[in-house]
Symmetry: D3
Subunit: 314 residues, 6 copies
């Protein structure tokens, strides 16, 4: 064994307080036979975005932000440092073939699930296009699926105008029979951010929609709790799909489609906490963060904070 | 007619979803005899700012942000794509003669109003100095005028120290007899942002002042509604003058005079919605946005969102 | 005396409105025998930060932001232009010897206090490491001291891993007998921002802790008032120690340790106003602002606004 | 006709000096039957880049930079304001189907050439992937083609690893029989920027290579002139393909693959001037500029300056 | 006298090496009767720029950059720390009246010269518009004046289109009889940066023009020396007017009108050195630096380096 | 072994061209008994900088830039992919104790050398303060040492004013008897960048100095070659110490002490190539790069290019 006094060739030389556990220290690369509470998988696909997006850099930037957080919650007076998190790495996407990339994501999520290594999973996009293959794979593995989608947009564009983009995942899922409209809840939909035709399409499909006004009126936690209760009667598992542009541009400046009038970061975190503790919630994706457009990684940092709310629920 | 398969020489090649109408698609350049619901005029004057400001770039950046919004409101379940908006372009200001530029603005607003082409108008500044000639022109055309001013500042500086600047419009209007103090309402005035002398001046002139504390206490919508009711008894038309620095620096980082403790973007949008639906409200200006200081056009984007609340009221 | 028509060789040529007093105009460099209401001292030490920080630039950037504010409060209908503020300048820190720098701060604060020139004092950091020598010096001068600390973090790290850093001031103070844990109140402590060991340490020492949840639940002003009342029974003076990272990253983007889910700038300002008016409150420090990471000096501007709430209390 | 005093609704209100002609004023959108000296076509494709690139924004940013230049050359004592330039607009690329986009480019270039509207053409990329369909189309229209390529890289990657990317255009052209290696000249190839295998591939294909050392030694203008003379014996037309990363990162900071040790902007401009005046040179593309990574549009500005050297040759 | 151990209330606490003299330490504010070798005057006028410019901030940023330089030249083996430099401060310009501001500059320069306090002077713009009143004042004081102008542009625009702007100073001077065209030398004029009409105007007026090609061909130092010799036969004093946009955009990225193909910073510095040592050279202005557009104050730093070449000539 | 189709949990999913070897792929973490041609060690110390510097981030950013380069040189027609490079990681510095950090560096370099694992070494700073312990350690290990220092500054400040900083390494080395002045060559020293006292000190110590003028006059390669020949008669090994601020600010914008008038990046690279091929040259350090101040990692990229010139010499 190499023994130097002040360096370890294979490890970064960051300052270490012996009493502090950073969340990133709890992630270990998955290897055969490993078991953990939560699995993390990166889905760095963003060429499917209608506008050019570097959201493919988000898995890296979100993971890096985990080092800004400790494993201890004063609120619950619990140190979660023994919650093991397995990192499955990132899916290798194809430089020019989008459909191939989408299929690689579906296959990879399935392969991950087949290992039965974890109880719950976090998928790091990428753009919202990744939710189509990801949710499909979860459905294939677990059975009937319900989805709660945080988003300013319906994401049910037609497929003729541009193929499968970040504007189409929920249409692809519903048209393909992978998700029933009745089992999709959309939270945070905004005025002047969607087309009438797509609004009507979601309504016809039976999707449940909550706007910003609804959130202001009722509170986001009560909405989440009510819908989880309802959904859980009809589905085997529930998947949270979090498009960060549901958050106001002041709190999430790094989303490709930023805008005013969204939810606050506090509303985001408390609603994810509320959802994550439900027993049927097995997965969460975090999408539409473009680190190259962000300010001081604020949006990746918010996403990392959201991961903690999902991971540390007991 | 030229027919290429994949290009149109006179049009941008942006992605187009056939079911989506973006707000910018509803703007048409004014031509003789045209009629529309709302007229838009750019007033790119900012050399009148005490501090150097590029708010003269704001008409362009705000218009560009309209392409981030669709014409559909889920809240009102209405698609406003048939509301025609006429763009009168930008007034050509003089490079070095400020008084000439101010006069050109007054003349141009009057010429626009004389066409009787629209029911309501949006004026895009520029700095707050543009409100003096603009409100004057509206008064000359329509008669007795009332003004609701969103602003952290009174804007009634003396004229001797620097001529007509962005700090003087309401003094110029009151001194010139174009606006009675009784018919001016100021919303969002902040502590430590004004001088005692000017505070007293506005009081003496009969101006009604609402501070941030008043807004927190009473709510901004009730204040707006109450004042519209009151004002409408005394005036022929009401003009909204929106200095974006009324908004907190976290939500409007692109104002020259940013500061903490302002209103939120949600308060801005809801109060403009409340005001715009009143029958006597005929015009709104949006001023003091410097795109060169902004982050990701957040402030121009907020201004564009404010335009929608003004344009789409039915 | 030199008399030029349009210039004064020793003064900046900024625009001046004769009726406006900017706060910076009320600061005068301390000279022997001078007296004022508030003393200001810069403590530009940031090499004690665990991560590299340019918070040593903050005394300059905060002072510069004072020129963005006037001395007039509409709320209290008072012009504070006659409140004299004495600027004691900045302590010269050592380029490479941290312990020497800390000692220089302690000595300098004491020397300042010994002059008895002011009733109350503002200390501009620098990182939070400056609070150790500063609070020590206040205790040495005034007697028994109580501290209200706005912070996301406990700041009671062990000293073995890195010496006296910005993570250790309150441990140094309590271990050194300069501050009793019972007399320390921590406001705004966040989940996943501290280690279990340090949480327990503060509890054992008798420190009173208020989390973000407590603030949401009870309101920050009532908490402050209650604790001031309680503390004032046991101590001679009260010192406010304001780590700006207590504020949410959207409102204070220039802190080294930004994060989501903190208090708003309005909560910060109102809580400082509430505290500053208490008779035993004699000092406030403002720390952990790194101007090189800020956006448009928003965080320094917020700090300057906080200074006004402390200075202008009558 | 509408007549306002100071505004024209359909035109920007920029300052105009009556004696100055800006280059952008000489561009007119192509319409049926129009004729001009130079045709300009935008090819905004960059999803074919191996790394994410916003070079699809370059056609717009380069065109915008034309307004920074006048039509007058003091060196030649000539005002080129009567050289008519036809703008064919931008090809509409597909959001997710790369091969479709490449084919659209080939078709669009051919359709443009079929009009016989201009003598010479400028193609604005986009990434270097656009040169494959563009050069193919020129070959199909004009016959035997020679290419001078300014580039730090050979661009002959294998197609199996990632399909047709910005790393493959010249392999695609040679493999497809659209360009003989003997008729390809590469200028500015850099050490440690290419793989041995690809270096050998170009050698075997008969490609002529000039490195930075060759340029330092011989001078870039003499090299260009010599190769033009040689090439013109074997081909019908010559196409200039200018990858801006041939320029040193200090002079072209907006290229995706910036690096030290490239040519200066002066070398770029003089070599393009030298090439453009040759009779067989019919086209030039300008690729690999990502405006989102640039500083003050310096790289687009350099590209616009390069356009002038190509357009104004007499 | 106040005596603190580690602070001086009226002085910054920067690190000081006892053996180093920084150039800024040699500047003293002018007071009645003071004498020095060089006088410095700030002319912060930039609203006369055709495009919005913050070059009014340049006097401050250039002065600040003087602290990056010492007074010692190894080349001449001389320490210039005893060369006294008097700082006359900045002229107070008017916020809205341009002609008034121009007149204030003329008067202030004259008032400065009348004191006979220095042998030579540096004028810090501001935009190039300041050279009109400045050169006029020098002519009024000293008699017949010759000017060497470093510039990419002729700056002889007509006055009808926009009044006296940064595009007109040399026309104003020649038309007003303050400068003979024969006594004006322009260095660094660029292709595609000027209009034919203005090129012809300068020729007719007898102005001597050197282009970039001339500089490459002959070398900039020989040109300067030749022209100084020639000029000195006809004029009483020589004034250097340095528009920083003569420098290539890679070396001077902070000019409003940046462009490729200019001179290098080394050419700038050596040519100013060459000029400054001539006995009839009495003044230099440095204009067209906008610190808000610069990168790390590189352009101000270059300007400060140019100041040293002018100040330290012996 | 885990087998997924499209992901490897422990490896990044970047695009890989099977025929390309990137330089970073040739680095392997040192483990006991490993042997390589070149050893790399990170020395992330920058709190010793007089001004605050994040040059401690440079080891990471320079290593990251290695992925921008391949192992193939066309000039030498050689693929260096089999040159093994051992990465010894980064020395863990102390957060607050500078002397301890300096000693840790000395010990770590010695420990590295004791392994006899490599023939030559690259040390990645950090600020120039690291050269004191690093050169000392090399001397202790190898015997008599000669140094060629690329630098705008002499770096021989007195130690009383600030302790051992980045301004003192060569004084510490000479005073401590670790380096004879006769065996130190300084290349690129600039006017107005040093104090007279320190200039004289180096002269007295027998240091050989080459200024920018010398380089312009003689050429940098001939100087290097001449001095290597001379030095090699007197010393056992030669150490290259490269302070990147020797390079002009246009080419190395990320140095803390940027300035105009330095050498070009081409001069840097060719001079390092010339030096590295000498048999007695055993080590090179690269210091004074602050990635937080850089533009697009241009300066780290230049440093990585310099590493290649050192590593690949055969
Ligand atoms: Ca979405
Ligand atoms: Ca969305
Ligand atoms: Ca205002
Ligand atoms: Ca205002
Ligand atoms: Ca703290
Ligand atoms: Ca803290
Ligand atoms: Ca290429
Ligand atoms: Ca290339
Ligand atoms: Ca000029
Ligand atoms: Ca110019
Ligand atoms: Ca050095
Ligand atoms: Ca140096």
């Amino acid at each position: 064994m190499v023994e130097f006094s002040f360096l370890q060739p294979d490890r970064p030389a960051a300052f270490k307080d012996k009493f502090v556990t950073k969340v990133n220290e709890c992630l270990t690369s998955y290897s055969d036979g490993a078991r953990g509470e939560v699995g993390v998988l990166g889905l760095p696909l963003s060429k499917t975005s209608i506008s050019l997006s570097q959201s493919s850099e988000a898995p890296n930037s979100i993971r890096a932000c985990l080092s800004a957080f400790t494993t201890f919650s004063g609120k619950k007076d619990t140190d979660y440092k023994n919650i093991k998190v397995l990192d499955f790495g990132d899916v290798q996407v194809h430089p020019t073939d989008m459909e191939e990339s989408i299929e690689r994501i579906r296959i990879s999520v399935r392969e991950m699930l087949t290992r039965n290594a974890c109880n719950r999973y976090i998928l790091l996009g990428g753009d919202h296009g990744i939710s189509y293959p990801s949710i499909r794979a979860f459905g294939e593995h677990y059975g009937k699926i319900g989805v709660i989608q945080w988003d300013a947009h319906h994401d049910v564009r037609n497929l003729e105008d541009g193929g499968r983009t970040n504007g189409t995942p929920f249409r692809s899922l519903m048209e393909g029979g992978h998700l029933k409209g009745d089992n999709l809840i959309q939270i945070g939909i905004r005025d002047f951010a969607n087309a009438k035709v797509y609004h009507e399409y979601t309504k016809e499909k039976g999707v449940t929609i909550y706007t910003i006004d609804d959130i202001e009126c009722t509170g986001i936690e009560p909405i989440i709790k009510k819908e989880l209760d309802r959904l859980s009667n009809f589905v085997d598992i529930i998947y949270l799909s979090v498009d960060m542009d549901v958050v106001d541009q002041a709190f999430a400046p790094g989303c490709p489609a930023i805008g005013p009038g969204g939810i606050t970061s506090r509303e985001l975190l408390s609603s994810i906490s509320a959802a994550a503790s439900h027993q049927k919630v097995k997965a969460m994706d975090l999408v539409e963060i473009d680190p190259s457009k962000d300010f001081r990684d604020m949006t990746s940092r918010l996403a990392a904070a959201a991961m903690l709310r999902f991971m540390y629920t007991v």
